[in-house]
């Protein structure tokens, strides 16, 4: 049989071909920043009027694209120039790799003739990003461009998602071609949807029937698989209590009776006790990070462990597991739901868990003279009815947001988990808001982290993005200070800010509304007022400098060795 002859296309240059391929990939917007090596791309953007969000620093382009990706599960797209543009984007690419967020990053490159000659603004970005991308490419022939782009989107958004980088030499962007562009990809060795070992599933279900103290641990993989419904149905049917990782928050409504809260270093008492005392642990889509399994050798010591993960390389990486089920969480959960295994006898276990919950609820010292950060998060939760996309930066405020916001949706928490990147929050909130313009977006950020990417306030102002920025100002790099207080005998080396910018003037400089909240008696009404207008607001809340995040497990201690607040 003869293949139908492909029609030649109108002649286009590489840059136009690139944008046409993005259009075919349903890309809604590009986050980027121009420069010499990407002039052809920006010229094509200009002529095609492609939607482009102009950030103020390339690191923010990558974080904003991550915000978009983490809030939707769809790849975020980044354009940056060669050399410094590309190196500036590296932090965001590394962050996306750690949290398996899909990105397609285009970096400009010097012309192919000049590569390797220390040309102006040349950087060997392929080598630099080899370990922080799922794959990367350099294009040497314009006719390869559509195939490479389609592959990049396919790789970024399937299997274990992640960032893919395409390095595009300037002369390739200028080359014209009328080659037709294929929309298929040919990567026979890449198997993003492994076939599930049904035998292992059957064995696991049998083990579940016989378990007395089962726990389901849910992670970011559940968001990636869009398997929230399956998790809830499974937990309900078998009455299995659920613990979430930081990145698994939102899979179970915080208020669900079966939900024990976040596990790990700053998790709830009940969640960590459940991890310590369970006899069967079913991990769906989390990778036993050391903030969760704080002491791998002492983790879930009485449990048979099952690990459901799409990435075979996660099996036995940190924790030795009995049932290893490589596959997509949704597919596996559906198989588990099809099983007719008997329900386990868990009444005593539930009783024990309820007792832990009742005796050790999440709590903090209330105050009549100071505004407590935990209370601020709770108030924001009430104001937004638990429906907001919650974006955080990194630090204590991030943990308070995780502990006290009443999450209920998939992809609702947008945070930097694995890399723990300060400066992530503000640009990520921009990406999240652009992805969900009709939904409320709240950013919790610290006085340290906001100073790392505060230039992006201009983007919020330019595009009139209604993002409520809750700046929890403790005048300290709080999370680091907490560790100094606990483990370095209160030697607060370089973590206390004696001088700070005037954040209200900063808001004003960008033309944004600013609110300063200092009075614990009126904080609820003040917050509501600050949230009222349908525009961005920088809401600076004065909180005590020495408030610790509790509970806490010291690194290396077991999950049942928690410190609690007085």
């Amino acid at each position: 049989m003869q293949a139908p002859e492909e029609q030649p296309m109108p002649a286009r240059n590489g840059a136009e071909l690139l944008l046409d391929t993005l259009t075919a990939q349903n890309v809604e917007m590009i986050f980027g920043y121009p420069g010499g090596a990407v002039l052809p791309l920006y010229d094509a953007i200009y002529r095609q009027q492609f939607r482009h969000i102009l950030v103020r620093h390339e690191q923010a382009a990558a974080h904003a694209a991550e915000g978009y990706a983490k809030a939707t599960g769809k790849p975020g797209v980044v354009f940056v120039t060669s050399g410094p543009g590309a190196t500036n984007a590296i932090t965001g690419i590394a962050d996306a790799m750690m949290d398996s967020a899909p990105l397609v990053v285009f970096t400009g490159q010097v012309g192919t003739q000049a590569i390797g000659s220390d040309a102006f603004q040349e950087a060997d970005i392929l080598s630099m990003t080899a370990s922080i991308t799922k794959n990367n490419y350099q294009v040497h022939d314009v006719r390869d461009l559509p195939r490479v782009i389609n592959e990049a989107f396919y790789v970024a958004s399937t299997g274990r998602k992640g960032p893919v980088l395409i390095d595009l030499p300037k002369n390739i962007a200028n080359q014209t071609t009328n080659a037709p562009f294929p929309d298929s990809v040919n990567l026979p060795q890449y198997q993003p949807a492994p076939t599930v070992d049904k035998h292992q599933v059957a064995q696991l279900m049998q083990a579940l029937s016989q378990a007395h103290k089962p726990v389901l641990l849910v992670g970011n993989g559940v968001h990636a698989a869009a398997a929230q419904t399956e998790v809830q149905r499974f937990a309900q049917r078998y009455q299995v209590p659920v613990v979430a990782t930081l990145l698994g928050l939102g899979v179970m409504p915080t208020t669900a009776p079966l939900f024990l809260g976040m596990g790990g270093m700053h998790g709830t008492y009940a969640a960590n006790m459940a991890l310590s005392e369970c006899d069967l642990l079913i991990n769906v889509g989390s990778r036993f990070d050391d903030r969760l399994a704080t002491a791998p050798a002492k983790f879930a010591p009485h449990a048979t462990i099952a690990h459901i993960d799409i990435d075979a390389a996660e099996m036995n990486k940190i924790i030795a597991t009995t049932y290893q089920i490589v596959g997509d969480a949704k597919t596996v959960l559906k198989l588990m739901l099809r099983s007719s295994a008997a329900r386990p006898e868990v009444a005593a276990w539930h009783e024990q868990l309820q007792q832990w919950q009742a005796e050790h609820p999440m709590r903090y010292q209330k105050s009549a003279t100071e505004i407590k950060p935990q209370q601020v998060v709770q108030l924001v939760g009430e104001l937004t009815h638990g429906d907001a996309y919650v974006v955080t930066d990194v630090g204590q405020h991030q943990m308070w947001a995780a502990q006290y916001y009443p999450f209920k949706h998939q992809h609702q928490l947008i945070t930097s988990g694995g890399l723990g990147t300060m400066g992530f929050g503000l640009p990520a909130a921009i990406g999240a808001k652009l992805a969900h313009p009709e939904q409320p977006v709240v950013l919790f950020v610290g006085d340290g982290g906001i100073q790392m990417t505060s230039e992006e306030l201009e983007v919020i102002a330019t595009y009139d993005l209604d993002i409520k920025i809750v700046l929890l100002n403790n005048h300290t790099l709080g999370m680091v200070r907490q560790w100094q207080d606990l483990f370095y005998d209160q030697r607060r080396s370089e973590t206390m800010f004696e001088h700070q910018p005037n954040f209200m003037k900063l808001a004003e400089a960008y033309g944004l509304a600013g609110h300063q909240l200092t009075d614990p008696q009126t904080v609820a009404a003040d917050l509501a007022a600050a949230f009222a207008a349908p525009h961005a607001a920088l809401i600076e809340v004065a909180i005590p400098a020495l408030e610790p995040v509790m509970p806490m497990i010291a690194p290396g201690s077991a999950n049942n060795e928690m410190m609690e607040s007085d």
Partner: protein, 160 residues
Amino acid sequence: MRRLLTCLLSNNPGVLNRFTGTLTRRQVNIDSISISPVGDKSASRVTAAVYLDDEAVAKQLVAQLNKQIDVLEIHDITEQPHIERELALIRVNAATNKRAELFAMVQPFRADVVDVALDSLMIQITGSREKVNALLRVVQPYGVTQVVRTGVAGFTRAEG
């Protein structure tokens, strides 16, 4: 323990970098690595000999390498019956009056003398790593001035 990995990599820029980068990141010591294009040159065959004591870690590492898009195939053939060969060129400072003795010594190894000069000669040997080591021990007393080894290439034996 020394383990032998055989892999097929697609022939794209930066592929080897990514491959060895993963080994470095996992703090795996590389004993040898050999690579050359095969077939229509769209792929390269790699044989990597690495030191890894823990079997579970080895398995996990292979899975980690296997998920790289440009790794088309990877197998840990350590436990399977397999053939390993390498080639070495050895330059020996042999005085003329010692040469007959030296020729006789290398004979049982089926090594060849591939270059002869006034004050040195070059021996070529192919075989297992052990065989190459053994020959090196034997010729050492004659004054070895240069050695180059390709690193092993390996395959599993055919079944049956």
